[in-house]
Amino acid sequence: MPETAARAPDPSPVLDVTDLKKHFPIYKGVLRRQVGAVYAVDGVSFSIRAGETLGLVGESGCGKSTVGRTVLRLTDPTGGAIKVDGEDITHRSRKDLRPYRRQLQIIFQDPFSSLDPRMSAGDIVGEPLKVHGLADATERRQRVAALFDRVGLRKAQMNDYPHQFSGGQRQRIGIARALALRPKLIVGDEPVSALDVSIQAQVLNLMMDLQKEMGLAYLFISHNLAVVEHISHRIAVMYLGRIVEYTDKRTLFTSPQHPYTESLLSAVPVPDPTIKRQKRVLQGDVPSPVNPPKGCHFHTRCPYAVDRCRVEAPALREVKPGQLAACHLR
């Protein structure tokens, strides 16, 4: 697996995102005039190669899920470019997007709302094949059976309905559905955060096995640093719609460069009560993405903030070889 550092642009990324922006307009009044916008994603760039996992971390509301959904074109981007295998899909219509649907799939967070309760598990997994006309009924059944087998479900369960499965099993159905079209990239939108810790490990290991087998690329969105550390090769840390640090896993956990990453890492619980650590608890709340702070988004809570931070937004630049951070002080 490539443990090399972040170096954009990559030679042949499966997914290449440049300066992605997603602003949700806010309307008010009888005339529905636009009075502002939620700057959910405000200039995010990254790329993912085949067989690689990019972890996207940040606290809730920082825009990481919106990145996932915009990349999949479930919501339309306000600006920037999304390239899949070198093809620009940023502005493709629903019809022209169809061939790319096969290459990009998603695993959802909530295993209860992500499966249609009125469809049997087998039909749910087989539906992508049906819609894309990839297999007739008999072949489809065989392929669905193979997928069930692969994700660790019994073939006899194909006729059962979602409510007859446990949360972990439902997540396996969701993975099987995502795999049905043999995609190149799967977006995991907090795929394990709704599961028990023991089940989390099973699902994570399944995802990693599948990656080795099929050369899948993952965009793994999570707020759980331990989970991200387990599965990712590279990690991007988001704060209020922007990436503040972007590097490979080991570098991030051993020598974080951005003050936000530092405090994020110090908040990870360590399963050993004898270890005494210096905790750096941030003051205040995350500012509203409707009205983000001027300059560096983090300056309102940053212990090192200087005057420059309040005026000028820092660019994401290489502060050490292979390590990108958006901070004036590094």
Binding site: R69, L72, L74, R94, L97, R98, R101, R102, L104, Q105, I106, F108, Q109, D110, S113, S114, L115, D116, P117, R118, M119, S120, E127, P128, V131, H132, R141, Q142, A145, D149, G152, L153, R154, K155, A156, Q157, M158, N159, S166, G168, Q169, R172, G174, R177, L181, I199, Q202
Partner: protein
């Protein structure tokens, strides 16, 4: 996780769904609650009896009230068979034209029920489609559809039905035929009921469309219209069935009211409402049976259907289980 259990061969799974469906029905809470509610069972039996009576009227009715060779004015205004002047040929007596009341009731409920069922179907289709579109698209489409619904809700159903009926009559003039009256009635009753369906379906659609399985369907590349009918509709149809059952009773009453007021079906094609309307003229001259028996039938039908609808609402509502 049961994933570690021994895998079953594919063949045995293939025969399972049908057996499973029966087992699911047998074990379902719905059937249990049905069998444990005596009122519901009675209501269901009454409903079934009236529906069967209407369905098989040509075979079980003792007379054909529309066959002029069988109708004899000598037999007019006969009381029920058990009364002094009664004739055993006419169990529930006869009307002013000598038609057997029991037979006219059987034929009449046939017309009442078909108007009721067809207008409910019409209302449900219009309401479901508009509700799905309004809920899924949102924005201006939603606003326009729901404002129209709000405005219509300020008028009583009977007024809307009268308005539509009246304007069609005015447009067509004197040359209207019975066939058309039937369809105009269905159209006007149906159009006065669609709002309820649209509102219910819109609300549930808005909940369902934000769920991840709809996003997953979009991501697969399914056409939005297919998503609506294949994924969203099956998940919002439950409450619609309940409304439809209760509306069926309302539609039958509305038809009876319109017929009673004289804007419904003509006396040559009498529905239960028309029969009551005819009988009303004789109520004070002592021939009570002409109005009372169709009235009892109508009341029994409406009550029974309503009770079944009420039970269905409770049985399908997970919060009341």
């Amino acid at each position: 996780m049961s994933a570690s259990a021994t895998p079953t061969p594919l063949e045995s799974a293939a025969t399972a769904p049908e057996r499973k469906r029966w087992a699911a029905l047998r074990d379902s809470d719905t059937l249990y609650s049905f069998l444990h509610s005596k009122v519901t069972i009675a209501a269901a039996i009454v409903t079934l009896l009236i529906i069967c009576g209407a369905l098989f009227a040509p075979w079980i009715a003792p007379h054909n009230p529309f066959d002029l060779r069988e109708v004899n004015l000598i037999n007019s205004n006969l009381p029920p068979a058990w009364m002094a002047e009664g004739n055993k040929d006419f169990l529930l007596g006869t009307d002013d034209q000598g038609r057997d009341i029991l037979s006219t009731i059987l034929y009449g409920s046939r017309i009442s029920l078909s108007v009721g069922i067809l207008s409910v179907a019409f209302a449900a289709i219009v309401g479901i489609v508009l509700g799905l579109v309004a809920g899924y698209r949102g924005g201006a489409v939603d606003t326009v559809i729901m404002r129209i619904a709000d405005v219509q809700l300020t008028f009583p159903a009977i007024l809307i039905a009268l308005l539509i009926d009246g304007s069609v009559r005015a447009m067509v003039g004197g040359q209207r035929n019975e066939e058309m009256v039937f369809w105009v009635l269905i159209f006007s009753i149906g159009l006065s009921f669609w709002v309820q369906y649209a509102r219910t379906v819109r609300g549930s659609t808005m909940v369902e469309k934000s769920k991840d399985y709809v996003l997953a369907a979009r991501l697969i590349g399914i056409h939005p219209i297919k998503i609506l009918f294949r994924h969203v509709l099956p998940n919002v149809i439950g409450p619609v069935l309940v409304i439809a059952t209760i509306n069926l009773a309302l539609a039958v009453i509305l038809e009876a009211t319109l017929s009673f007021l004289g804007v419904g079906l003509p006396p040559t094609q009498p529905s239960l409402g028309t029969l009551i309307s005819i009988g009303n003229n004789y109520l004070f001259s002592g021939e009570w049976w002409i109005a009372i028996f169709p009235g009892i039938t109508l009341a029994a039908l409406v009550l029974a259907v309503n009770l079944v609808g009420d039970w269905l609402r409770d049985a399908l509502n997970p919060k009341l289980r």
